[in-house]
């Protein structure tokens, strides 16, 4: 029966993929993409993940998990598999898989779609499941601890520094996305601002009024936020109120920076925790709604399979399809950040080793499907409209006439009337040069929702989509700044012990300020960059995220070589590692060494410096040029640093593996010894009943 199901899946999936291949010359329906991807995920889950679980990691349902052995009713709690799946998916699913695919759509729908499907099934899902498995066998240790235990202090330190850096770049780039979405849009700005008092209200409700009543409080919060979307529309109609929420990018960046700093030092119950409940419900609800709408409407994809920009001349960001599609789409295909979640909270919840496949591999496959929906939402737009929204004025020309002329000249016709009508429909004054991916995704989502649930509300759908992205980007900014703060305090604790105390207020203030200053700097530079900033910051984020994935896969490969009964199985993580190391290194090489000023960081800095010296820049560009020049050089050196960290870990991993293969001594595996489980399976509707059984 199972085999029959597999064969059926393979036939349908093959048919859909064949459909995609054959329809290359004409518009293709998005259903082909959805069906093909779902079939591939199910096949990967049913066969590849099952094979890895049973052969490589020797999943043993009779072995007690840390949740059972160390059950303390708090962080170590045996949890029903679907509940743990829900927790894990909510934790890994962020705004990343919505932004990356939108940007990568400049290459056409095919490269991004294929990388999302193949990258997740063979790379991302495997990485997540592996990290979950290894951490679970080691009492829920973190990636950094495992790197130290299994490779040595060098690997451990590299993982720590890598994590801290990626956090800073990630927050900056997400901050830039949300700033660009609110820029000169009173409706979006007022709606996003309104979510802050709503979150505080929900925080008070959950803490004092009705402690711990999560669902009640969230329902009230979500209702208020939905109202604030309409409220923003009303504000947009009032000339005086409207002016109060009309800000340029620099002011909005200032708001985000102050907000992030406050959120990092305020108690979690006040802002962070309630905001997270709201953003999780909104996120899951919206993704579910989007899936339904895509299924009902199954829109035509208007973007060609591949555009001429695969040659590296793309206007959103420069660089050839190889390696840059693999850098641009990190979350949704392979995301190193997931290794931190998979080796933290989740392994302490798993009640049986069998569940690792569903929770690790399954959650990532679902996240990958979210990325597929994002690429559909980006490519169902007229390509001309897509480029008009996503390309900065510095590249296509500052006026609408210049922009439509340039974009039509690329072979993607678009008119100013069309853009004006679209902006009017969406309740915005203009949609030109709204870089960062959020506005174009919101236009895509609004058109899908609008055609499914009523076109009259297009502008409301648009601002709902903007608000939805902003809400969980702000959650990531809060949570990320806080985690960065803890990591920095941990590091500073080595210099001076009091600085390492996470509750000592001077240390809290100093470390939070340092972290916020770090990402605030990149955010500010991104905002003043006339080309939109995303074109510089997003590749840096992609490189750092893939570097973290490579660190996680290095640790995994070393552990497989050390412990698996067949060393040859190391290819399971070794192959994605080799691929990621290749794309990351090639991309980093081009970003550092290229003489094309649009591609190479140093070439870009030198080019701008020469123009500045020759007086060839306009006054406003000349004013910000020194900062942009410094920033490009800094980005260049950061890329060099990421690459060095990456290769340090890979070499350290190779050293450990070679010693093991030659029979020399290596660090002992830190796997916890086998103990038989006494746990009964937890039923699906596990309320009190399941946990009472699980208690020790």
């Amino acid at each position: 029966m199972n085999k029959l199901f597999g064969i059926l899946l393979a036939v349908i999936g093959g048919f859909a993929l064949g459909g995609i291949a054959l329809y290359r010359a004409e518009p293709i329906n998005s259903m082909w993409i959805v069906v093909a991807s779902v079939c591939v995920y199910l096949l990967g889950y049913r066969f590849y993940a099952a094979w890895i679980a049973s052969k490589v990691y020797l999943v043993d349902p009779t072995r007690a998990t840390p949740a059972e052995r160390l059950n303390n009713g708090r962080d170590f709690v045996p949890t029903q598999r679907w509940v743990a799946f829900g927790h894990h998916f909510a934790a890994i699913a962020g705004p990343g898989p919505l932004v990356g695919p939108t940007l990568a759509a400049q290459f056409g729908y095919l490269p991004g779609t294929l990388w999302i499907i193949i990258g997740s099934v063979l790379g991302g899902c495997v990485q997540d499941m592996t990290m979950l498995m290894l951490s679970m066998r080691r009492d829920g240790r973190s990636l950094g601890q495992m790197a130290r235990d299994e490779l040595g202090p060098v690997g451990g330190f590299a993982a720590l520094i890598g994590t801290l850096m990626i956090m800073i770049i990630l927050i900056a780039v997400l901050g830039l996305v949300v700033v660009n979405a609110m820029k000169h849009s009173p409706w979006a700005t007022s709606t996003v601002f309104a979510t802050i008092p709503v979150a505080i209200l929900v925080g008070f409700y959950m803490r004092s009024l009705r402690p711990g009543r999560v669902l009640e409080a969230s329902a009230i919060g979500v209702a208020l936020i939905a109202l604030s979307v309409f409220g923003g529309g009303w504000i947009d109609q009032q000339p005086t109120l409207r002016a109060m929420f009309d800000y340029p990018g620099v002011s909005l960046a200032g708001f985000v920076i102050v907000y992030g700093w406050l959120a990092a030092i305020l108690p979690v119950w006040l802002l962070l925790a309630p905001r997270d409940y709201l953003s999780t419900f909104l996120k899951l609800g919206t993704v579910f709604l989007l899936a339904i709408a895509i299924l009902l409407m199954h829109p035509q994809i208007k973007m060609p399979a591949m555009t001429q920009f695969v040659d590296g001349t793309g206007p959103l960001f420069t660089g050839k399809v190889f390696p840059f599609v693999f850098i641009t789409i990190a979350c949704g295909a392979v995301s190193g950040f997931h290794a931190l979640i998979s080796s933290g909270t989740t392994p302490k919840l798993i009640s049986n080793e069998r569940d690792v496949r569903l929770i690790g591999y399954g959650s990532m496959a679902l996240e990958s499907l979210v990325a597929i929906m994002a690429i559909i939402a980006a490519t169902l737009l007229d390509p001309g409209v897509y480029f008009a929204i996503n390309v900065g004025g510095g590249i296509v020309g500052a006026t609408p006439d210049a922009a439509v002329h340039t974009i039509t000249g690329w072979g993607f016709p678009v008119t100013t009337d069309q853009m004006a009508k679209l902006a009017h429909d969406m309740g915005e004054t203009t949609l030109f040069a709204r870089t960062g991916g959020a506005p174009s995704l919101a236009v895509g989502m609004a058109s899908i929702f609008g055609s499914t649930f009523g076109r009259g509300l297009l502008s409301v759908w648009y601002h709902f989509a903007i608000m939805f992205e902003a809400v969980f980007i702000l959650t990531t900014i809060d949570a990320g700044t806080r985690v960065g703060r803890f990591m920095l305090q941990d590091l500073l604790g080595h210099i001076s012990a009091p600085l390492g105390r996470t509750s000592w207020y001077p240390s809290v203030i100093i470390s939070s300020t340092l972290i916020v200053a770090g990402w605030g700097y990149f955010l500010y530079i991104g905002v003043i960059d006339p080309n939109g900033g995303i074109n510089i910051l997003w590749p840096l984020f992609g490189i750092s995220n893939q570097m973290l994935a490579a660190i996680a896969l290095s640790v995994s490969t070393a552990i497989i070589i050390k412990t698996a009964n067949k060393k040859a199985y190391a290819w399971v993580t070794g192959a994605p590692l080799a691929w990621l190391a290749t794309v990351t290194t090639v991309a980093a090489w081009q970003k550092v060494m290229s003489v094309d000023p649009k591609l190479g960081f140093f070439a870009g800095a030198d080019d701008m410096a020469a123009k500045l010296a020759a007086g060839a820049l306009s006054a406003d560009k000349a004013a910000v040029a020194p900062q942009l020049i410094f920033n490009q050089r800094l980005d260049g050196w950061l890329t060099v640093l990421f690459t060095i960290i990456l290769w340090f870990v890979i070499l350290d991993m190779s050293r450990v593996c070679l010693r093991r293969l030659r029979g020399a001594s290596v660090l002992k595996s830190s796997e916890a010894p086998y103990q038989p489980t006494k746990l009964e399976p937890i039923p699906v509707a596990a309320g009190l009943h399941g946990v009472a059984q699980a208690g020790h």
Binding site: N71, G73, R74, D75, V77, Q80, W82, V83, G86, H87, A91, I92, A93, G94, P95, G96, L170, L174, M206, R207, S208, P211, G212, R213, V214, L215, S218, V268, W269, L272, A273, D276, Y277, C331, S335, F337, H338, L340, I341, G344, T345, T475, T476, A479, G480, R482, V483, F486, T502, N545, V684, A685, A686, G687, L688, V691, A692, A694, G695, H696
Partner: protein, 71 residues
Amino acid sequence: MSGEGIYSARTAALRWFAAGWSYLRTVSGDNAYERYLAHHATAHAGEPPMSRKDYFTEMQRRKWSGVSRCC
């Protein structure tokens, strides 16, 4: 359709709804305190458990002292 058939269909629907509701409460943490009390009663019988408010504050503090949200 016989009365019995309608009755069992309604029971099944109610059971599904109850399972869904229970899942939602568990996954969101809405019934976390009840689960803590149940655990406490078996594992630490005799000691007084934390109050609802204390438990909830402690749970949030622990949740947000590590990496719990991703990009």
